[in-house]
C-alpha cells in the first residue's frame, strides 16, 4: 500500500505533472464543464491503456528482436494520433455537445501531446504485465492530477485575479505549489 502510494505520488510529482502542464492550454476555453472534464479524463485513460498495451506488444515482439528501439518514438506518435482521431470521430457521432467542447478546447492536439508524454513516462523494459501495471498507475496519476485541477480551473478565471496572472501563469504557480506539497508527502512516506 505504502509502496503504491509512494509510486503514485512520485509519478504525479515528476512527469505527469509536467505533461499536465500541456493541458493548461485547455484553460483558455470551457474546461470548467465538469461532465466534459470527466468524459475527457475517461477517454484519455482508455486511450493511454490501449496505446500502452499495443506499444508494449510491439516493443516485445517487434522492436527488441529487430533492435529497433529508437523507432519506438514513431510508433508512440502513430498510436496516440490514431487513437485520438478515433476518440474525435466517436465523440462527433455520439454527442454533439461534447464534440463542441472537444473542438473548442483544442482537445485533439492537447490529448495527443498528453498521450505521447504519458507514454514516454511508462517504462516498457519489463514484461508485458509490468508495463501494464505501470500504465495503470500513470493513468491513475493522470486522472488524480486532472480532477484536482478541474476544481481549481473555475477559480483561476476569477476577474479579481490580475490578467497578467490568469489563466496559464497562475496554473503553473498552482502546479508548482502542488508539486511541492506532493514532494513533501513523498519524502515523509
Amino acid at each position: 500500500m505504502a509502496n503504491g502510494l509512494l509510486c503514485l505520488t512520485l509519478l504525479v510529482t515528476s512527469n505527469v505533472m509536467l505533461t499536465n502542464g500541456f493541458g493548461a492550454l485547455g484553460l483558455q476555453r470551457n474546461k470548467s464543464n465538469l461532465w466534459f472534464v470527466l468524459y475527457n479524463t475517461f477517454t484519455m485513460i482508455l486511450v493511454i491503456l490501449a496505446c500502452s498495451s499495443l506499444y508494449a506488444l510491439a516493443y516485445v515482439y517487434l522492436l527488441i528482436p529487430y533492435n529497433l528501439e529508437r523507432l519506438g518514438i514513431l510508433i508512440i506518435v502513430m498510436f496516440s494520433a490514431i487513437s485520438n482521431f478515433g476518440v474525435l470521430e466517436i465523440t462527433k457521432l455520439v454527442n454533439k455537445e461534447m464534440y463542441y467542447y472537444y473542438d473548442a478546447t483544442y482537445s485533439f492536439v492537447v490529448n495527443m501531446g498528453l498521450t505521447i508524454g504519458i507514454m514516454f513516462v511508462i517504462d516498457y523494459s519489463g514484461s508485458f504485465g509490468e508495463s501494464m501495471v505501470y500504465a495503470c498507475l500513470v493513468s491513475a496519476a493522470y486522472a488524480v492530477a486532472t480532477l484536482l485541477f478541474a476544481f481549481a480551473y473555475s477559480r483561476m478565471h476569477n476577474q479579481k485575479i490580475s490578467r497578467i496572472f490568469r489563466p496559464v501563469p497562475i496554473t503553473i504557480l498552482t502546479m508548482s505549489i502542488m508539486a511541492m506539497i506532493i514532494y513533501a508527502i513523498s519524502i515523509s512516506i
Binding site: 500541456f22 514513431l74 506518435v77 501531446g113 508524454g117 489563466p167 502546479m175 508548482s176
Partner: protein, 224 residues
Amino acid sequence: MIREQSRFTINPLYVVAVAMCTICQYVNTLQQGLLFGLLTAVICLLCTNLVSLVEKIADKNLRAFLITMLTAVIIVILEYVFELLNWEILTENLDSIKWIIIAVTALSIVPTYFETRLTTRHYFINMFFSVISFFVLIVVYSVIIEVLGFGSIFGYALFGNFGGFVFAGQLYFKLFVIALLIILTNFIYQAVEDRKMRFDLLVEKYKLNIKQVLNERDGKGGTL
C-alpha cells in the same frame, strides 16, 4: 489586412510557457538550455513551414498530427546522428531529446489552430517570434537554474565553494521559475498590446474627426 490576419487570438506566451513546462525537467544547465532551445526552435520552424504547404488540403487536426509526426521523424534521425557523433553533451541528453516533440507540438498550436489561410511567409514570421521568445526564455531559465542549482555558469564556478541549493533542482522550483518568467514577460507583452490598442483607437478617433470636418466643409458628400 495582413496585420488583421497575423494578430494572435491567443496569448503566444501561454503556449511558450506550456512548451517550457514539458522540457524543464531535463534542462538543468545553460548548455542543456542552449541545446534544447536551439533544437526546438529549428525543428519547430522547419516542421510548421513544411506543413504550411498542405494548409489548403489538410484540416487543423491533420496539420497538428503532421507536425508532430515530422518532429518525431527528425528526432529519431537526430538520435542516430548523436549516437554516431558521440559528443558528451549530445550523448548525455540522448534519452531526453524526445520530449522536444511535445514542446514543438505545443508551440505549433498557434499557427495550426489560430492562423488559418496564411501563406508560408506568414507562418514563418509568426513562428519566428514565438520560437525566439521560447529560446530566450529557456536560456534565461537555464541560467537561473544553473546559477542557483550548481553555483556556476557554463560549468565555471561563480561563488567559490558554493555548490548551489538542493531545491533548485526540484520540479516545484523549476515550475515556479517558469511561472515567474512568464508573469514578467506577460506584463511587458500586455503593456505593448495595450499601447497598440490605444494607438489603434487614437487613429480611429482621428479618422472620425477628419471625416466630420470634411462633411462639414463639403456638405454630406465628403468622404475620406
